[in-house]
């Protein structure tokens, strides 16, 4: 049998290319995941100990005020303490906001504990100097000598950048480092990772002393704490690696379908060979062994190629990311033998498994089949009634499970139900898919003429093969559509929430002088991004509770009209005042505040909030009581949300500069949310794309093998007068029919699954969770798969058209 095995492998190598490619891609995916996760782990864990190099103990699990008390205690005891924490603050330069949120941390008071590594310039010598993280500075184009304004309102601080540093630790790095004394003002509102402590006495004594002083805090030796941090960082990477492997599993699942389909087509074409072998004396076992060995060899070779390709691609990708995005903090990629062995085993096992069913079917062939006259490969198979009935049952069970999942908001049940439904649809594929192709084909026949008709007949002549070919594409398209639709629905819900939280897109508020000049309003209205802008009347008042002079404005009904939701501050009740949270000392909200304008005073109930600028908001009648002749103190703006947030802030600031006014815009917050959703959508679609690529290789493969199988038929058609171009068109139409029908079916399923997902997962957070169809994106999915279908037929069509009719007719 060995001669037969080797000969047949030599002969059929080319036909195995696609199946092998599917395995290679799956294995490559796993190895690239290994490279990326090892690089991420290396980047995240290296340098974690740097901030604690000179500390005996570490206090964690504390908040800002605790950290402040620890600093005081250190001062008293003569110990060294370094706070590893940061405040989330806006940073601007020359009145233009660079970012509405950056981590602002501190350099330790004790220079010995300093863990940042100077890249350029020097460390600060006064509280009005700062250093910036070199990567963050590069990304935001901040250089030494720049003056940055940190924070807004009363606590805003101007600092001069005197140096740039590397931050070796991924867990506690900040974009800007102030002196500890300068950062103190935001310490209360800072996120505190830990405080590194270096006091007198042994570590145990220090731990005991600190534990008794802070019973709620965690006090550990430096080594223990660093070990914990490393574990936390690694866990994060493990989660990401797990998610990547999930996508790898989807890609490999698709590969299984492609490989199984390839084998069943190849074996169907070789039925006569097998039967002939049986005739000349091979036992069923020998034939079975021979073709299983063939599959095993294919799996081993493909898995090995995948390992090499994955290692190369992984190293390249890590190098590329490190070069392009240093802030991603990737370290060195390292490969583990466990991953290699795992990927190799998966690749091999998947191939052998996928060949199992087709090989069983093939060896049922009786030796007599070889003695029958050559009727060509009999490709007519139909779905049995049993299969249809079973398929319907499975779909019904899946739908029931999903209905139960919606009722109980049970996500695991939803996943099971979705999977079951999908499996049922795949089972019904041999019935559904050809029917859909016939419908679609009647359209193409009208447009394309004979090639369209022939393509439809070819596409449906072997229902099981057609269904198997489309099933692999169905997986990718269904998941892609479900994710796109689900995220679009989630986005609309998030947008609603954003509209509630940030109703006002932008404000221009007077800071000095009597009020805003009229040209500011015309200037604002002339900006292309501004949809509408209204003047808000107000006056200059003096507020107690340590607030001082502040503009007091009263929005009218027109102001409420341009907001994205109806917040309380849009129409304050009489006797109420809304104060910006930044203006309040330490963020404490007093119960009442007294406003004085000239002779008149009002004592008002206080509400605090943000996003309307550094002004106080009151009801019109309250304003009337304070000032008989109010002037324009603010302009409230509604803008086009698709505008670039930074450009918009810049334009608005330029207009406002004439009147020395302050600009606050929430567009950046919208953009930030949008960016996160876009990145998530892109990442998921990109990862699912790999499964789609494998499926398309499968379609190309099926077409290629069918072309080989139909060599005589195609030659006959050419003899009868089908031109080369028409033959190519026939194959192209067949490919597009297959891919488009799979895509449409997948889109329908995906939208259905997305609806179930929205109802199950989001309905408990929002009432009337509705679904948003990203029609543009879905149209792109259909177009891309049609184009990919065309691409898939290029090679097979060329091969088919190249054969001369005479050669085709004499083909074996």
């Amino acid at each position: 049998m060995r001669t037969v095995l080797l000969a047949s492998m030599r002969r059929h190598t080319r036909r195995y290319v696609a199946a092998s490619l599917a395995v290679v891609i799956g294995v490559t995916f796993i190895i690239v995941t290994n490279a990326l996760s090892s690089a991420a782990r290396d980047g995240l864990t290296s340098g974690l100990d740097a901030p604690f190099a000179h500390a005996d103990v570490v206090v964690s699990g504390i908040d800002g005020p605790d950290a402040a008390r620890l600093l005081d205690r250190a001062e008293k005891e003569g110990a060294s303490a370094s706070v590893l924490g940061w405040a989330w603050l806006s940073v601007s330069r020359d009145g233009t906001e660079i970012t509405d949120g950056a981590d602002v941390g501190a350099l330790p008071r004790d220079n010995a504990m300093r863990w940042q590594e100077l890249v350029d310039g020097r460390f600060p010598s006064t509280d009005h100097e700062a250093v910036v993280d070199a990567n963050a500075a590069k990304a935001n184009d901040v250089g030494i000598g720049d003056t940055l304004t940190i924070g807004t309102g009363k606590q805003a601080l101007d600092v001069k950048v005197v140096g740039s540093v590397d931050s070796p630790s991924s867990m506690v790095w900040s974009a800007v480092y102030l002196t500890q004394d300068a950062q103190d003002r935001w310490l209360d509102q800072s996120m505190i990772n830990s405080v590194a402590w270096n006091g007198a006495g042994s570590a145990d004594e220090q731990i005991r002393a600190l534990e008794s002083a802070y019973p709620d805090a965690t006090v550990q030796t430096t080594d223990d704490f660093v070990a914990d941090q490393q574990k936390a960082a690694t866990n994060g990477v493990d989660v990401i690696a797990f998610i990547l492997l999930l996508f790898a599993a989807i890609a490999i699942g698709t590969s299984v379908m492609v490989i199984a389909n390839t084998f069943s087509i190849l074996f169907a074409q070789r039925t006569r060979d097998f039967a002939l072998l049986r005739c000349v004396g091979a036992t069923r076992r020998q034939v079975l062994r021979s073709i299983r060995l063939e599959a095993l060899a294919l799996g081993v070779v493909s898995a090995l190629v995948g390992l090499v390709a994955g290692a190369g691609l992984g190293l390249g990708l890590v190098a590329l990311i490190r070069d392009l995005a240093p802030s991603a903090r990737l370290g060195e990629a390292s490969f583990s033998p466990v991953w290699f062995a795992g990927a190799f085993l998966v690749g091999t096992a998947v191939t052998v498994m996928a060949s199992w069913l087709p090989t069983r079917r093939v060896t049922r062939v009786s030796p007599l089949a070889a003695l029958r006259p050559d009727t060509g490969v009999d490709v007519r198979t139909t779905a049995g009634r049993l299969r249809i009935g079973f398929g319907i049952l499975v779909v019904a069970a899946g739908v029931l499970a999903m209905a139960a999942a919606i009722a109980g908001a049970a996500v695991p049940l939803m996943v099971v139900g979705g999977g079951t439904t999908f499996f049922g649809v795949v089972l019904l594929g041999p019935t559904i898919v050809p029917a859909l192709i016939r419908v679609a084909g009647s359209l193409t026949a009208r447009v394309m003429g004979p090639p369209g008709r022939l393509a439809t007949s070819n596409a449906v002549r072997n229902p099981r093969r057609t269904a198997a070919t489309t099933a692999s594409l169905l997986v990718g398209v269904t998941l892609t559509t479900a994710v796109l639709t689900g995220l679009a629905s989630g986005r609309s819900i998030i947008d609603d929430e954003m509209a509630t939280d940030h109703p006002l897109d932008a404000t221009v508020s007077a800071t000095t002088g009597a009020g805003l000049a009229p040209e500011v309003l015309t200037g604002v209205r002339d900006l292309p991004a501004v949809e509408s802008a209204v003047e808000v009347p107000g006056t200059v008042g003096t507020l107690d509770r340590g607030i001082g002079r502040m503009r007091v404005v009263a929005p009218g009904p027109d102001a409420a009209g341009l907001m994205r939701s109806t917040p309380d501050f849009a129409a304050p009740r009489a006797g109420e005042i809304y104060l910006p949270i930044d203006a309040l000392e330490n963020g404490n909200v007093p119960r009442t505040v007294t406003v004085t304008v000239g002779e008149r005073t009002e004592t008002l109930r206080v509400n605090a909030g943000e996003d309307w600028g550094n002004v106080a908001v009151v009801a019109p009648q309250t304003l009337a009581g304070l000032d008989a002749a109010p002037s324009t103190q603010a302009i409230w703006v509604r803008a086009d949300l698709d505008t670039d947030a930074e450009d918009f802030s810049g334009d608005l600031s330029a207009v406002a500069a004439a009147s020395d006014a302050d600009v606050v815009s929430t567009l950046g917050k919208w953009a930030f949310v949008d960016l996160q959703l876009d990145v998530m959508t892109g990442a998921i679609v990109g990862l699912l794309g790999i499964a789609v690529v494998i499926a398309l290789i499968g379609i190309a493969n099926t077409l290629g093998l069918s072309v080989l199988e139909r060599g005589r038929e195609n030659a006959l058609l050419r003899a009868l007068g089908l031109t080369r171009r028409q033959l190519r068109a026939t194959l192209a139409t067949e490919a597009v029919l297959l891919s488009v029908v799979a895509t449409l079916l997948g889109t329908t399923l995906g939208i259905g699954f997305a609806w179930v997902g929205v109802q199950t997962m989001l309905a408990k957070y929002v009432e009337n969770a509705s679904m948003t169809l990203p029609l543009g994106q879905l149209a792109i999915v259909v177009l891309v798969s049609a184009a990919a279908g065309l691409l898939a037929c290029v090679l097979p069509a060329r091969r088919a058209a190249r054969v001369t009719p005479a050669a085709g007719l004499t083909m074996e």
Partner: protein, 254 residues
Amino acid sequence: MIETTAPNALRTAATARGLTKTYGVGTHAEVHALRGVDLDLPAGRFTAIMGPSGSGKSTLMHCLAGLDQPTPGTVEVAGVTLESLDDTALTKFRRDHVGFVFQSFNLLPMLTAGQNILLPLELAGRKVGREERARFEMVVDVLGLADRTGHLPSQLSGGQQQRVAIARALVAQPAIVFADEPTGNLDSTASAEVLDFLRHSVRELGQTVVMVTHELDAAAYADDVLVIADGAIRTHLTTPTRDELVAALRHRAA
């Protein structure tokens, strides 16, 4: 459209001059399937090309039908020189002027008999109008397929399949019909039936039919018989008797 005038024996349907076909390159690898064949095929007659396997008869037919290009040599069919045509033009020429009947794989398995018969018209983009419909009905009727047009090829017997193929070759009224071993896969009864129909289409419908065969019985139906061996024409017989044929083939073998 039945031609009622007697077929004009002086008209030629196809002409070949210096037809040569060589496969492979190099003095030892070269195989000469045809060695300079000169040939005139009269219109309105049933011509059989005979010869043993490997004699070059199939290659000759492929070249005459524009399915294959001769290495040197010219072929003229229905007044058109085939060398001057590119692939697309050649294909269009075939579907307008040439009909085919093959030994096997004659019909497309996914189309019904009727669809198979009308396929050449459809490929040529011709509307099936009243005239074409009448021709279709007539051909189907003559070939005894009237109640079989809705069947798939797999539901037809071998003889019926071959009759469908003949109907398809005739329906577009081609200038010439080539039949490549049309009885090769049939039993003697079905063979006789198919050959009868081919002769019938020549006598009654005025078609020109060229048949390649290696069977004496089949050749006996023909008006003219060309015997080919080693890539060259050895004998040209007109309405030969069986004995004459046997003698011609013997002579070749000797």
